[in-house]
Symmetry: D2
Subunit: 148 residues, 4 copies
């Protein structure tokens, strides 16, 4: 892993092992699973920034709904592979969050997929709300470092 | 299909087409999906008896939580197969429901799997409650026919 | 549904009912499932054009691997909703296929999601191969109508 | 963890964190996921005994097909819970393997589910074959300790 690739971004690297149930009859991971792995990475990035997404939902009533999700597949992931999901915040506005993702193999660092998701912050009734200050400050700091 | 196999049971036959995402690298359907198909069959049996499980949850606050689920796999299901999930009520008590399932191929009626699930009726706070009368009456009638 | 939206495109409309297992604790369909529904739509579009994807793989050794997948979520899908996946071919080249998708509710035609996927045709050893003529001719005819 | 609960069994404890995608609209983990967690536990038990299931399939041509799977649900698992899957071998015959499972919460050791699966060993053409000696010896040793 070339650390320079990350610049000053606050990134989170989460390690997963590919499950048998995640493969399909082509003998590789079904492409739908990458979006679930992105979600796992997102939760861990939040945790690394000091937040629990469980509490965001339960205590603060903030749900981060996906409005856009994209993945470019570079190479297939295989059963039992150890993979790394690198997650970072690309942009933050009051009610909108953009995350970026890189999935690569843990052993040889081969890039498997690149992704991005956009989210709006909503309450339990699905109404868009601004992200509480305590989050926005930390989130923005995490992104700003990306600008340099 | 030998109709005699059903006796007087109120059964529901739901047709599904196997999705690519449901296969695994052995080239057959991953065994976890059968439990999701059972659930699809259960919902359709309820609908056939005049109930919507959506309304059971939202209007009547009744959730049918799984406490036990078993499946015996007789033959593999393959991608793009049309399959039938035959669902029936095995036993009904005030707060407990037992369902049975048979999964077979639509074209040659080859048996693919047999299953059973047990459920307790709970409210939103996960407390066991008796099934409202309007359900219990219809459910019991559906089972009784099985006794003869 | 405004039929003009389809122009002369060869589109395929596949109807699905949202499964309980497809929901998450936000009370709506988890966003990963849309990519599985796209796949269901893709297979049915192929079938409508006279091809079975099962045979494409087994008989002709052609696998249509996803290299890019995007979804924009317009409104949440809910448990037990009947939804329609409208699928069409956006572009066809020798080894590359672009599909487009619209997911909407069957009852009120509310748009739930828009998507697109890009695929390369590969053989069993994951090597890119040109699509056999019998496919390419039908596929191109399906797209051309989109151009006008 | 009370080690006495395990007796002399060779058990494997695998730790997982519940994914958001694994929840359903009842606000708990959908019951189908437990069978996927059992599979994760099974693979790790094999690894702990010195075997890679990937190699079993690819090098030795041995597939361990599920013929029976049961789960009893004791308490719901929730999003972001850290859970432990304890897996052990219950019985081994030439072509048949029986596994047992306990799923509990990592923090307070609350029991969430108990399970069992039966498998037959098959080759690529789905024909039942005896397990190669190198496996059977290790597997039987792992079970024998359970007898006392």
């Amino acid at each position: 892993m070339n650390p320079a690739r990350n610049g000053n971004r606050v990134t989170c690297e989460t390690r997963l092992r590919v499950r048998y149930a995640e493969t399909d009859q082509m003998g590789v991971v079904h492409h739908g699973n990458h979006f679930i792995w992105f979600e796992v990475g997102r939760v861990e990035l939040l945790r690394q920034m000091g937040f629990s997404y469980r509490d965001m939902e339960q205590v603060d009533g903030c749900h981060i709904a996906v409005v856009d999700a994209c993945c470019r597949y570079k190479a297939p992931a295989h059963y039992d592979d150890e993979i790394v999901v690198r997650t970072y915040l690309k942009r933050v506005r009051s009610s909108v969050l953009h995350f970026g993702y890189e999935i690569f193999k843990a052993d040889d660092h081969a890039l498997l997929a690149l992704g991005s998701t956009t989210h709006v912050v909503i309450d339990k009734d699905m109404k868009v709300i601004p992200l509480p200050d305590k989050y926005i400050r930390v989130f923005e700091a995490a992104v700003v470092r990306d600008e340099f």
